[in-house]
Amino acid sequence: MSAVKLESETMADGVSQLQKQLVDYTASLFDEAFLDEQFNQLQQLQDENNPDFVVEVVSLFFKDSERLMDELSKALDQQTVDFKLVDKNVHQLKGSSSSIGVQRVQRACIAFRDCSEEQNVEGCLKSLQHVKHEYYLVKNKLETLFNLQKQILAAGGPLPGK
């Protein structure tokens, strides 16, 4: 007698596969220090009354960070670099990275601050490149994570851990 899967069972398989994918993917992001405990704190603030909190605050972070990196590019491009301005912007970027829990970006900002304190333009340019690199990496990964969450919800499943 062949076992015929019900459509609902197939769908349930699909959802649990996606859930496992999400759990594994999220774990890898923590393992590789893309995300840290602060990101967990943000997830805990999300509930039925605030179902989009994490996506909203991360989107704010993306917008703000891209603005700050632009300002930094401009500031470092000047004939006479205003290191106070550079430091102010790096400080802000470091702060928001820390608040979101994107650890590698935060670390890159710390290194950047050291160069700006030494008033080392070359060093600052390299640091900015590194910050941008880490930023776009984690942006990509977070977008993948949010996409997986969307797929699970669209398939009718609850997010894992809820």
Partner: protein, 172 residues
């Protein structure tokens, strides 16, 4: 003869109940001041998660206006009332959180409101001067749920109500 025991009214709101507040108490109103969009959004959510009402300001001047304390203030239509606590970032453009703290403590109208200063930098001299100026606590960013829970004791003691819950401030 039946003994009738008086029990405290049960709260209809589970969030309020977890705060140790019964339905007769006012919801604590916190004023949060921070120049970072991201941090404002997070502190607001941390506080609403702990059953507080929140008003945010993006700089010290904005906060003073909301409190009705800005120099030469004429328009008081946007001022907020019943502020139970103020949380302010230290590093802000224009007026710092420390300067805001001083203004608040100098004003007879609002000096009794507990002020919490937060900063991403752990600088002992900075912490000392804020505490000396009257800050209730100095917390390091990023703020967590456990930090906000700790602040609840400041809220209850200043909510001006007769709560039977005795919350003890444990450590700073």
């Amino acid at each position: 003869m039946a003994a009738v025991s008086a029990s405290p009214p049960s709260s209809s709101s589970s969030a309020a109940a977890s705060m140790g507040l019964d339905s007769g108490d006012k919801v604590p109103h916190v004023l949060a001041v921070d120049d970072s969009f991201v941090d404002r959004k997070i502190i607001e959510r941390l506080l609403t998660h702990s059953a507080c009402k929140v008003t945010t300001a993006e700089n010290a001047h904005g906060a003073l206006e909301l409190l009705g304390l800005a120099d030469g203030q004429q328009n008081f239509s946007n001022t907020v009332s019943n502020v139970s606590m103020i949380i302010t970032d230290y590093c802000m453009p224009g007026m710092t959180g420390y300067e805001l703290l001083k203004k608040i403590k100098e004003s007879p109208k609002v000096k009794q409101i507990p002020v919490i200063v937060v900063s991403s930098e752990n600088i002992p001299t900075r912490i000392e001067k804020c505490l000396e100026e009257g800050a209730e606590e100095f917390l390091l960013k990023p703020l967590r749920l456990s930090d906000v829970k700790k602040l609840r004791c400041h809220l209850t003691s200043n909510a001006g109500n007769n709560s039977d819950e005795g919350l003890i401030c444990v450590g700073r």
